[in-house]
Symmetry: D2
Subunit: 162 residues, 4 copies
C-alpha cells in the first residue's frame, strides 16, 4: 500500500517573495523532491495546510489527527515546521493508533541553496517503511520517539529529552 | 555505536574536469552531504577506492568484504556505482554475516544540479539504523534484499527480479 | 587599472538564519561569485556597509560618495539593495565626476536557488569596462542612466522613467 | 532593436545522461538563464547547431557566418564551445562587417553546479550592447578582440596572444 504524505507547511516549503523580501508559502515542493530523488515508492500526497508551525492551533492539530485516522494508509509522513513538531507528535500519539507516523521538515527552505529537506525526506520515507507503528520525528538523519524528542532552540538540532 | 560508511566511488562522487570535459574522481563529497543534511548520526567514513563500478574487479570486492568483516561497526553503508551494485551485494551476502549492510549511490553526480545523492544518503542512513542484519540496496527511496534486485538498464530504476 | 567594487548590502548578500527564520547579513558573497565566474578582471573589493537599502541614510550615502571620490580607480561597481538604488545613483551623480559607476544588486539572495546575482554581476562588470564616465544602474541585463531609472515596485523590474 | 542570440552548443549546453554516464546535448538552456537573470533585454534566439566545438567544421562556420549576415539584428551573441571559439571568431571577422558579434560559452555546463555560464551570459549581453561593431570573445568577465585572443589549454583561461 502507498505511503500517505500530508503537507502542513513549515520552513520546508517556504519561498522568498522577491517583491517584498518576505518569506511566504505558495505550493509544496514535495513533488519536485520526489522526482529529484527518483523516488519509486508509491505515495499519496495531500496538502492539509500551509502554515508556520508557530501558528499551528489546536484546531489545526485536530485536523491532522482526523486526516491520519481517516486515511486508509497506515504509513504516514507529515511535513511540519520544526518549532512545534514535537508538540504535534504528542497530540498524534494520543489520538492515532496502529499507524507509523513520521514527522519531518527542514531547517532551510527547499528552494534555497543548502537545504536539508531532500536528505530529511529520504530518511523519513525509509523510516516510514521500516519502523513499527508509533509516532516519530525524523530529523538530522535520526528518528526519535514522540515522547523523547525536542528541538534545541539554540543549536537547531533535535535531541532526546532524557 | 557509529555507522561505518565505506566509499568506493561511482557516479555519486564523480566530478567534471573543466579542462578536458571528462568526468573523474577527486575526493568524496560524503562529508559535505552529511553537513548539508545536518546529520547527527555518529559515522566513521573511510574511502576504500574511487572507481567506476564497471571497472570493479574481484579483488576490489574482496577488499570491500574484508573491510566489512574487520571493522567493528555492525551497521555499514557503502557508496557504490549503480551498474554493478547488485553484484557487489551478492558477494557481500556470501561473505559477511550478522551485519546490516546498505549499498547506495546516485544516478547523477552530487556536484551536478539535480542529483539524487542527498536523498539516497538520507534513506540509506535510515535503513541502516532500522533493518535487521543482511545486505540491501537502497535506491529510489526503497530498499531491496541482495537476492532480489537489479538495475533496469533502460530506465535507470532499481527493481525486484522476481 | 583594477575595477573597484564597493559592497553595501542589499538582497544580494542576504542569508537565511535557520535558527530564527530571519534574513540577515554576514559576509559578502562577492569573492565566491567572482570565482564561480572564473573572473580574471582585476578587482579591489571593499565592504562599506551591510544594510538593507531601505535603511540607508544620508550619512551612509555620503560615505559612499566619499569612497568613490577618494579611491584611485575610475571604474566602480557598487552592490546595493534594489529599493533605493536609483536614489543613491542620483546622489552619486551630483557628487562624483569623471568616473564610471555602475550600481547593481539582486532580487533574490545569492545564497538562495534561482538568484539573479551572478548574471547581474557579469553584466555590471562588462558595463563598467565599456561605458563612458557617468552613473548607471545595471539590472535585468540592461543599463540605465542615473536620471532615467526607477524600480517598478509592482513588477520588481527596472525601467526608464520617461 | 533586439539582440540576436545564436546557439551552437559547447559545454554551455551539455547535459549528463544518467543512463550511460555520457555528456550529450538536448535543448539549449538559454531561455532558463535569461529568466533566471530576470533579463528584460529584447532577444531573438535561434539554435543553429548543438555540437562540441572540437567537431565544428568549415561548413558549420560558413553556416554561422551566413546566419550573422542574413539576420536583421546588428548585435549578435553566439554561444560556442570554448576550444575553438577564437577560431570561429577569426572566420566571422573576415566575413561579417558592421555588426557587434560577441562569442561566449562556459567551462562548466549550465546544468551542473558551479557553472560560469550565467555570469558569462550577463557579461556577453552587456558587451553586445556597448561595444562598437567588431567580433569579440567574452569570457572570464573580460572581452577580447577576435585577433588577440586564445584559450590557454592548461589553465582554461582566455588571454591575449600578444
Amino acid at each position: 500500500m502507498a505511503i500517505r504524505i500530508f503537507i502542513t507547511g513549515g520552513t520546508f516549503d517556504k519561498e522568498y517573495n522577491e517583491l517584498n523580501g518576505q518569506l511566504y508559502f505558495k505550493d509544496t515542493h514535495m513533488h519536485d523532491l520526489l522526482e529529484l530523488g527518483r523516488c519509486r515508492v508509491s505515495v499519496e500526497i495531500r496538502t492539509l495546510m500551509m502554515i508556520d508551525s508557530l501558528e499551528m492551533t489546536e484546531e489545526d492539530r485536530n485536523l491532522i489527527v482526523h486526516q491520519c485516522n481517516s486515511c486508509e494508509e497506515d504509513k504516514i509522513i507529515i511535513t511540519h515546521g520544526t518549532d512545534t513538531m514535537s508538540e504535534t507528535a504528542r497530540v498524534l500519539a494520543r489520538h492515532v493508533k496502529n499507524k507509523t507516523i513520521v514527522l519531518t521538515g527542514a531547517m532551510i527552505p527547499i528552494k534555497f541553496g543548502s537545504s536539508d529537506g531532500l536528505f530529511n525526506l529520504g530518511s523519513a520515507l525509509a523510516f516510514a517503511q521500516t519502523l513499527v507503528p508509533g509516532v516519530y520525528v525524523a530529523m538530522n538523519g535520526r528518528y526519535f520517539n514522540w515522547d523523547n524528542v525536542r528541538k534545541n532552540r539554540e543549536t537547531g538540532i533535535f535531541e532526546e529529552i532524557k
